[in-house]
Each structure stands twice: as structure tokens, then as C-alpha cells.
Symmetry: C2
Subunit: 341 residues, 2 copies
């Protein structure tokens, strides 16, 4: 879609229309654009331009005698070519930083604070997910007997993060046996990423003097120990903000987004998929893979903890103040990266 060939007038009309609609949530008429935005043209002329924009599929009319509202494509053009990023004030920056810092270095608390601050200052839904260990480089593993038939498996990666999994081992292995196994694991696996380990664990433990039963146990549990499945956490704060938006006045619409938020799995997968890309990602309306949020836009950015990364962002109706949000999400991600390093 080559929309670069919009005339400068068309661009200005589209821009003003979107700006106004974002503020008011009401369909925008030609008179408003002509007068309030002082374009030096009559409403009739604006009307003609609006007709052109509608033919291009960038704006549409809810009904005959209403003004126009932007379509997803309209927002897309706006975001790609018309939008001027609105910088944060110093006090805003300070505020964000202070909240993000409130959890010390405890990553789960920091992430919860982050989703909270994002939700609060955007008045939308703030999102944060825990970092992907998948690309983390293993520094050390520990196997700690916790109770009968259970051990804690501790996995530490290079950036100073670690996590633990409680694992069932039906039969009791002797402490010595476990210690030896631990040694071999560390010897053979440290320095590799968790992803590499998961994919190759079977071969790497093939020619050893280890108990085959123990090896099998760990090979079978490889997706639990060395991947992010079931471990990735998502924080979503500000559901109330969404409820207040007129876009969610309809019960059905509200219901579907609430269900998606509760389910989490699908949402985690979607948000997580953005953690590898650099910079801000904006996904508008129909561009979202999840049906239930096809009337929403999502603005995300990745953050880093050493070598591994996660994603934060916001979700809200497509009618959102993109120019401000980009700055907010960007700066929050930066603050988060700073805090966690």
C-alpha cells in the first residue's frame, strides 16, 4: 500500500482528524477541522478531501450524518508517517524512574511496579512479562533435595538471574548420586544457552557413567527446566482504565478482553514474540493476531537484563495517544533495563 502519495492537504486533514478523534472519541466533522485547526479552507473543501480519504479506506463514517473516524489503515499511516513523538517532561521521567526503582533488584516486584506505572500514567492497560531465559547463558545448576521424592532445580544464568523449579523424582536417589549428577551437568552444560541445552541435552548426557534413570528424568523434563514454558509471568495492570473507555461500553467487547486477560497464555505468547525486536513496536487493531483485541492497539518495547530480554508495553483501544505513548513505553523500558543491570 503506497500511501506516500497522499497530497499534503490530505495528510494534514488526516492528521488533524485523528488528533481530534483521539481526544474526543466522537466522529469528527468537516466544520471542526476547518475551524478548530485553522486550515484556511472552507468546510466544503475539507469535505471533498475527506471523501477522498474515505475512498482510500483511511477514514470511515459510522452512519450517514456523522463525522468520520479513522480506520486501522488510517492509524497505520498516521503512526508511520505523520506522527511526531511527544517527549516526556523531566518530572515525568523522574516519576517513572522512581516507581520502577521501587522494587530494588527483585525482578518480580520491579516488573509488577512497571506494569503498574504504565497502566497509571497512560490510563490504559500496562503490561510486563518476565525475561526469556531461553537465550540466557547457563552459569550454574544446583540440585537441592527438598522433600521426599522432590528436588529443587536451580538454574542461574549469566546476567545474574536465577530461577528454581520444584521437580518430582519418583525414586530416591542418594545425595552422592545427585551431587555427582550435578557436577556432570555443570561440567557439560555451563556456557551454553538454555535453548541450546534444551535442544541437545539428550546427546550431551549420552556417554556418561550416570544413572540412566536419572538422565531420562531430566531429558523428559527438559522443557520445564530449560525453557520458558509455564514460567513466563505476565503482569497486567489497569483493567479498570479500559472499562472506562467508551470503546468497551459494550458488554460483549468488555467480556472478550477480560477473558483474554484472564487466560494469559495466549497473551503471553503474543507479547513475548516481540521480545527479540529492537525498539518500539506498534500493532494496530486488525494487525493483532488475537481476535479478542482486534479493536485494540498494542505498543511494546523490549527491555534487557544483561543478555536476556523481556517485553513491556500497553494495550488500549486503537484510539490512543500514540505520540505520547511511544515516549512513555520507550523511556520505561530504558529505566527498567537500567534498574535491572
Amino acid at each position: 500500500m503506497a500511501f506516500e502519495n497522499l497530497t499534503s492537504r490530505e495528510k494534514r486533514v488526516l492528521q488533524n482528524l485523528i488528533c481530534h478523534y483521539i481526544q474526543t472519541a466522537d466522529p469528527v466533522g468537516s466544520r471542526v477541522i476547518a475551524n478548530k485547526y485553522r486550515m484556511g479552507l472552507s468546510s466544503a473543501t475539507i469535505r471533498n478531501t475527506m471523501q477522498d480519504l474515505e475512498e482510500m479506506g483511511l477514514i470511515s463514517q459510522p452512519h450517514t450524518s456523522a463525522g468520520r473516524i479513522p480506520t486501522d489503515s488510517g492509524y497505520r499511516i498516521f503512526v508511520n508517517t505523520l506522527l511526531k513523538q511527544e517527549p516526556l517532561t523531566d518530572s515525568e521521567k523522574k516519576y517513572i524512574k522512581s516507581i520502577v526503582n521501587q522494587g530494588g533488584k527483585r525482578i518480580d516486584i520491579v516488573l509488577s511496579q512497571t506494569s503498574k506505572i504504565l497502566g497509571d500514567i497512560t490510563s490504559l492497560l500496562g503490561i510486563s512479562i518476565s525475561p526469556r531465559f531461553e537465550e540466557g547463558v547457563l552459569t550454574r545448576m544446583n540440585l537441592v533435595p527438598a522433600a521426599e521424592g522432590k528436588i529443587f532445580v536451580i538454574v542461574a544464568v549469566k546476567s545474574g538471574l536465577a530461577r528454581s523449579i520444584l521437580m518430582e523424582i519418583e525414586s530416591d536417589f542418594s545425595p552422592n548420586e545427585l551431587r555427582h549428577f550435578e557436577d556432570v551437568l555443570n561440567e557439560r552444560l555451563s556456557g551454553l544457552t538454555l535453548g541450546q541445552i534444551r535442544r541437545t541435552i539428550s546427546e550431551r548426557l549420552a556417554d556418561t557413567d550416570l544413572s540412566p534413570r536419572l538422565v531420562k528424568l531430566f531429558v523428559d523434563a527438559r522443557t520445564n527446566i530449560w525453557s520458558d514454558k509455564d514460567t513466563t509471568q505476565i503482569h497486567a495492570t489497569g483493567t479498570g482504565n479500559l472499562i472506562k473507555q467508551p470503546e468497551f461500553a459494550d458488554r460483549e467487547t468488555l467480556l472478550s478482553i477480560i477473558n483474554i486477560l484472564e487466560d494469559k497464555k495466549e497473551l503471553i505468547e503474543f507479547i513475548d514474540s516481540k521480545s527479540l525486536v529492537e525498539g518500539i513496536i506498534i500493532t494496530i487493531g486488525n494487525e493483532n493476531p488475537i481476535d479478542e483485541i482486534k479493536n485494540c492497539s498494542v505498543v511494546t518495547s523490549k527491555y534487557q537484563v544483561g543478555k536476556i530480554s523481556g517485553t513491556i508495553g500497553i494495550i488500549g483501544p486503537t484510539r490512543m495517544p500514540y505520540s505520547k505513548l511511544i515516549s512513555i513505553v520507550e523511556y520505561t523500558a530504558k529505566s527498567l533495563t537500567d534498574t535491572l543491570s
Copy 2:
């Protein structure tokens, strides 16, 4: 409030009124009770009785020309003296058991499944919180170096449960030092409940050859290590079910409950406070300490993992099918206890 002196007719009218209202959510008129419930009395007589019940504060009229709806006190009488518990069918039992079992022995998954099944079969909000370690008897502690300046503290209690806390220790202590510390901790603390440890840790580590810095670190962190603060998890599933209820048609009402669900802290405290009482607890409307759920009722039961216990239950509008819910919550708690033992 001695309401036992209700006449048998008053009791029957109240009972029928509540039954009908629970099903329809519409104010119930005297005609309905007279005809549908075949009380052998005219509507005029019922009307007189209803006036009496209203004077006692058990039912009320939304407006002059409407039927009556139960008040919180009305529900209370109903629950205390009129309600007949409705037993579960075999297939219902089977279904609950199968879902609760789906997580194997992994307690977090089992609890998440439990809140899900509760939400699903009641069409309300299912709740489950993790068990209180507070009363658990320590079997063993492990200190495992995880990264520079960080150790994993693993606390295992008698019932076979364990949990881990990632702890910051600014300065580096030698592995030997830590191992010695670990030995002393186990020697002096195992056999005590976590609550006892938290309250007396300071004295118990007083006369030792341990590094005072290390001791101070652990004494300072005692509420993190030996209590449930920040560790108790809550699962709440079925927000969508609440949204569908007519009681939450009003945006404000909906908003306040959503906020409470998101905040979690207050809710955890409230639900957790019920984990010590045996049997089903029903809290109706205004009896709830949290303002935001004063139009809701809460039905809970504790479950056990060995010696330590947690709580599950449901939240919904005061107009809920108590007689069925009691059986559901009761049986689910029993299944959960079975699964986790």
C-alpha cells in the same frame, strides 16, 4: 438477633421468595409465591406476611410497585436456618476431581486448576490461595549461591512442600561460611514452625560463632523468609462470569470489583484469614470487610496439605445458589486436600 421465632409461614414465604429471586433476579411479588409455590393461601395473605418480613428487615422493596427482594439479613436467616444443602451428583464429583487432579502434584498448577473449576461450574468467580507456611514445621533449609551477591534460600516444611526465596547479600561470603551457617540454622531451627522461627530467630542465633553480619542479614529478612508475606499467591478465575450478572451491569460496581481483583493484596488478606477455621464459611454482603464487595457473598473452605492449610472459595453477587455452592466448595476442598496429600 433472635429470628428463630419466625412463624413457620413466614419461614416458608421467605424461603420461597429467596429461591425464586435467586433464579430470576427479579423482585418477587405475592402472586408468584401464592401460585407457583402452591402455598394454599391467597396472594393477599402472602402480602400480609411479606409486610411482616419487611418490618423485620429481611426483605425490601426496590420501589413501591415492585415485588420484594431479600436483604442481607434475609439471606443470613436463609443460610443459617432454612437452607437445605443440595448434594452433588456422581458425575459432578467425578468432573471436579478430574480437573483438580490435572496438575499432578505441582501445587501452583493444581491451585490454578481449582480456581478454574470453581469458576466454571458455579458461573461465578473461583478463588484459590496458596497454603500458609506460617504453621508449617521446618524440616530443612538450604542456602544455595545463585549469582554474585545472591543466594537462593530454600525452606522445606513437613508436609512435603518447599519454597525458595532469592535473597540479596551485599557482600560475598565464602561457600564455607555459608555452609556452616546453613548447618547452624538447621540444627537450631528445624522442628519449629515458620511462625515460631520468625518471632524468635533473633534470640536463637544470639550465642553462636557466626558472622554477626550474616546473622543480621537473616534477622532483617525474617518476614521474607519465614512468613507468607509477598509469597501468598491468589488465583481468581471467572471475572467474565461476574460481568454477565445483572448485579454488575452498573459500570461503577463493576469497576470497583475489578480493581479489588487486580490489587490482590486486600483480597488475599481477607480470604487468607479464613484458612484456620474448619468447614464452610459464608460471608454475606455487608458482612464483608472490603467495601468493594459489600454487594457480594463469599463462600470459602480451607484445604490441607499435611499440617498446613490454605483456602479456596467463590465470590459472587449475594443472590447466589447457596445450597448448591456449599456442596461444590466443600467437595472441591476435599478433592484438593486428597490430591495434595
